[in-house]
Symmetry: C2
């Protein structure tokens, strides 16, 4: 009784993955509205109608991509944070993992961030709530660091926005072929962030 392929048909759900990859790339290159179902189908190697066997609508492709990205980002950063004890270490771990994750998934990160307004009201509210929860984690890290005397900032809310924006922005310019490794870029951002939080330099 060996593991049988769960689905029938010709390809299994490689097709689903092909659609998702095509959609990420096209949404990132052209934007959600400028990328058509026909283009997605072309790049996935199928006819447009076949997409509707795997997704109920164009928007459902987008929401799937976005929620998958946030799922994985949350998991990765939470795990990194939990492996440090003090506020400085936790913030450094969070920044490093956030940067690395955005560098490894530049297109998905970009689509998740920039196409929120393309969603219908319900999906948009849902995604914004998830994004807010993620941001709240950083804000709380800052607040804890202030209480412990490790950080010195005027406004934790503004600081968390600023930190997340600069780290998320790595997805906009990072080039795997470039001269800087992702680890190096992450280290630089940890330095910048800890500096802006008023942490004593620990060279």
């Amino acid at each position: 009784m060996t593991e049988a392929p769960p689905t029938a048909g010709r390809r299994g759900d490689d097709t689903r993955q092909a659609i998702e990859i095509a959609a990420i790339d096209l949404f990132a290159e052209l934007g959600y509205h400028a990328a058509s179902m026909r283009q997605i189908a072309d790049r996935a190697g199928i006819r447009p109608a076949a997409i509707y066997h795997w997704f109920e609508s164009k928007e459902s492709i987008l929401t799937r991509l976005q929620n998958d990205f946030i799922d994985q980002l949350e998991d990765a950063v939470e795990e990194a944070v939990n492996q440090a004890d003090d506020p400085v270490g936790k913030m450094a771990a969070a920044v490093r993992e956030h940067v690395v994750f955005h560098g490894r998934h530049t297109r998905a990160a970009f689509v998740t961030d920039s196409e929120i307004r393309a969603l219908s009201p319900n999906s948009r509210q849902h995604l914004l709530a998830r994004r807010d929860a993620y941001e709240a984690m950083f804000k709380q890290l800052i607040t804890k660091g202030i209480e412990s005397g490790d950080f010195r900032v005027s406004d934790p809310a503004v600081a968390s926005f600023a930190i997340l924006l600069q780290c998320t922005g790595v997805a906009l310019w990072y080039d795997p072929e470039g001269s800087l490794s992702l680890d190096r870029i992450a280290s630089i951002h940890v330095e910048l962030v800890l500096g802006s939080l008023g942490v004593k330099v620990q060279t």
Copy 2:
């Protein structure tokens, strides 16, 4: 021989401004591709065909908005920088003006940044070149500050990306009705940036 109105017809070029305002708002709310000429015309109080009396195409509305925004941003920041002498003062002035300008023109800033990919290749290249030149100004401010011994950063290029991203991002979340004034937000960003550049705190 008093100054005569330069154009004839019913409204002068109030119409042109109405189209630009409608376009900024709709591009910001829905995105360039999701906003239609009919919606722009509706909001400007005219019929779609009338837009083509003032603009030769939908894309020319976008490029006009984007280039106007960069024109004014460049002027404002350059003037602010020129009124300071030392690297720390220049960077503080640049950050403050950049933040204030983005807070005062959130929608235009957002459209200029996020709809570059909607442009045809020629217009896109032109706008990217202008953006690069603007970023180079910040990078040079950092380099000068390092040479003078005022700043301490590992990588000026990455630092300038990070600084600009967090300051530009103000356009994404700033709310004029919120509890923080734009001046206050600008001051906080000056603190954060100077901190990340390793400037001694000057309370």
